[in-house]
Amino acid sequence: MSRDKQEQKQPASGITADPQQTHVVHQWKHGSPLIACCFDPQGRYVFTSAEDATVQRWEIPSGKKVDFVGHDSWVRDIAFLPDGETAITVGSDDKMIFWPTAAEKPAPMKTVEAHKGWIRSISVSPDGTLLATGGNDTLVKLWNAADGKLVRELSGHGSNVYSTFFHPSGKFLLSGDLAGEVQQWDVATGKLLRTLDAKALHSYNGGQQVHYGGVRGISLSPDGKHLACCGLHKATNPLGAVNEPLVLLFDWESGKKIHSQVTSGVKGIGWHVAFLADGSLVCASGGSGGGYLLFFKTDSDKDFHKFKLPDTARDLDLHPDGLQLATVHYDRHVRISRMTPKES
């Protein structure tokens, strides 16, 4: 999953986010369990994807829904070009589809067979000229956002690529895989610059003979000093969903891990992580312990607040206003939670 613009999201209203005040303000229901979510850059809509292979556009705050039909399988990630007028979805059908974001009756504008194997993540470069995708063919691919042509293939991962993230400078691309490797690529040359060790997010269970975990989400702090990767650890029973969410915090400059951020009493997976404007971060957790928004500071190993969601969460995005969070759930709902005091 990718939400590249999060570090730039600043509340324009002057109101600051207060995680302790988090509460659900909207919940809208689709006909099938939901998988992924993303706000458009203008904040007009939240897009979601579902187990029925469709994408939904939900208008904020009315909740008016429009379905986008075009994929042959589950959509794993959603992104937008910077002006917000083009949505791009990628899925388990190996396809990358370009859509008119606000169209009354949306239809695919362009479809690209982008990977051999699920595409799990898409990111848009800060200037909107490049797209990066990662998939089960262990490849990261760079695409021309204007015409959907392949620019470069980045080969170096040894397992399925789970997440991608453009550095706000536009010079670097980060990609994380099942084995817990985060690779930093030079966008201009395609050269692998360094690999960050997030292997705490992966485990191999010899009894069950399965690899499990992966770098499920990547985000960078607004000051550019901290890189966060989320997923799971303590996977004592991978096939039975017995594991706990984990956020790894790296010092961007040195690439060294500085915190393993955990919470107590919550079983699940950290599906995505986002930095708030004040540099604290939020991770959406979902699994056998239910759904939570977990809040961390960059100077601590423990969460300072957790907000219980009505159902297990599967993805997270931060609204451009920096105050609202979208989460998608198994119970078919997309929920918008607001990190400000409740209005009377």
Binding site: P33, D52, S92, W118, V210, L239, A241
Partner: protein, 429 residues
């Protein structure tokens, strides 16, 4: 002078002890199984034809939706697509691209309802052809095949082999009244432990001591022969035969090119060993692949596991076919049950015995068949429902056995399979 036993068999008095596991102590007393089928002519015919059975056991419960009965773009279908196979009109999961090309040599049964969601009970049902009942003990399919398919009293190797990761030659206890001779021996790709002649013994010395043992045994047996002394003698003689053929169990003797073709994983190595064992006349080989009990992240785990399975399984079927062995070898890919059509909140699927599938092929199985049908989203069988009893009968019939035949156990006729079930005739050529 040879003693005559009233029952004509020593099966009922065989000691239940380890066979290969006791080679270390040099005191193997197990085995027996000198009984015969009630129709010796049938047994002789089977021996001539050298029928064999290979079971690939998908431990934990393979999802039928991610394998043999995909339902793409339905509420239960999950993210994987269906792909065409070499049989027009038959589609299987995209996770099985290599196997898809071989479906004209295989068959699918898509209409199994075993009325069970318990691992242990399901495993028993599928490998014994009956429901597990307190106080009743029936032989494993492998034991039935080992006894019914092996050349009578001439086998040089055990007839019932289970390939496992840690397999060290130990014998299980799953032959029930057929006797421990037909219980599974676990091997893992290397010759069984302690099956080499001890380094301190020369060939000559070893032959001398065996010769001495035989003389003493013969002298003793000439006047005091019992079932126990026969079993004792037999265990030593079979151990000697196995020692002479210990390389049969050594998968490293296979060409490097084949080892690469079968894949780098344990399952690939185990499939290659299965080929080697079948080529050497073992009647029943079971290979397991683990683990499919995917209550969590069913799709990620099936992606990982079925991908491993597909390559090695397809290589094995191709090789059996190329060697002309598929006509005489029944292959069955089974689990204890399938997985729920409903996708749970952890992207998992749970236990499900109501509408699921197995893949089988070879021997007398109709190539390219797709038997039975489930509804649109796989929640119910809607055509030609079968259960484990019918499947068990069909397996036996596919290798030329009459499932309604009986074993002579201590003078009592005991059915090969559950008498209340019957074979799926449409699936048999």
């Amino acid at each position: 002078m040879k003693c005559k036993y009233a029952c004509g068999s020593s099966d009922h008095v065989i000691a239940r002890r380890q066979f290969l596991g006791q080679l270390a102590g040099g005191a193997g007393v197990a085995v027996g199984g000198l009984g015969v089928m009630t129709r010796p002519a049938v047994a002789e015919k089977l021996a001539r034809e050298q029928k064999r059975v290979l079971v690939v056991y998908m431990s934990g419960g393979l999802s039928q939706l991610e394998s043999w009965d995909p339902k793409p773009k339905t509420d239960t279908g999950g993210p994987f697509r269906a792909i065409p196979t070499s049989v027009p009109g038959v589609h299987i999961s995209e996770l099985l691209p290599d196997t898809a090309q071989l479906m004209d040599r295989l068959a699918i049964i898509r209409s199994i309802d075993t009325h069970n969601r318990d691992h242990g009970k399901g495993r028993y049902q599928m490998t014994h052809g009956r429901n597990q009942m307190p106080g009743a003990s029936y032989p494993h399919l492998g034991a039935v095949c080992a006894k019914a398919l092996e050349p009578q009293n001439t086998s040089e190797l055990p007839g019932h082999i289970r390939v496992t990761n840690g397999g060290g030659g130990g014998r299980s206890n799953n032959a029930a009244y057929l006797g421990p001779k037909y219980a599974a021996i676990s091997v893992g790709g290397k010759p069984p432990k302690n099956s080499a002649r001890h380094g301190s013994l020369t060939v000559e010395v070893d032959e001398l001591r065996n010769s001495f043992r035989r003389r003493v045994n013969d002298h003793f047996s000439s006047r005091r022969r019992t079932a126990e002394t026969d079993a004792y003698t037999y265990s030593y003689e079979q151990a000697l035969k196995l020692m002479q053929k210990r390389d049969v169990f050594d998968v490293s003797k296979e060409p490097a090119q084949d080892q690469q073709r079968y894949g780098k994983y344990d399952f690939g190595r185990h499939c290659l060993l299965a080929r080697r064992l079948l080529e050497n006349g073992i009647s029943f080989v079971q290979v397991s692949h683990s683990n499919y009990d995917t209550h969590n992240e069913n799709f990620n785990f099936h992606l990982e596991q079925v991908g491993e399975f597909d390559r090695a399984f397809a290589a094995l079927i191709t090789d059996l076919d190329d060697r002309g062995m598929l006509d005489s070898t029944l292959v069955v890919v089974m689990s204890e049950f399938g997985r729920t059509p409903k996708i749970n909140k952890y992207y998992g699927r749970d236990h499900w015995g109501t509408a699921w599938s197995v893949c089988l092929g070879g021997a007398k199985i109709q190539p390219g068949a797709a038997y039975g049908k489930t509804n649109k989203n796989g929640t119910a069988v809607i055509d030609r429902e079968v259960d484990h009893g019918k499947l068990f009968h069909t397996y036996l019939a596919a290798v030329g056995l009459d499932p309604t035949d009986t074993f002579d156990i201590g003078g009592r006729p005991i059915p090969l399979a559950d008498p209340s079930a019957a074979s799926i005739q449409e699936l048999l050529t």
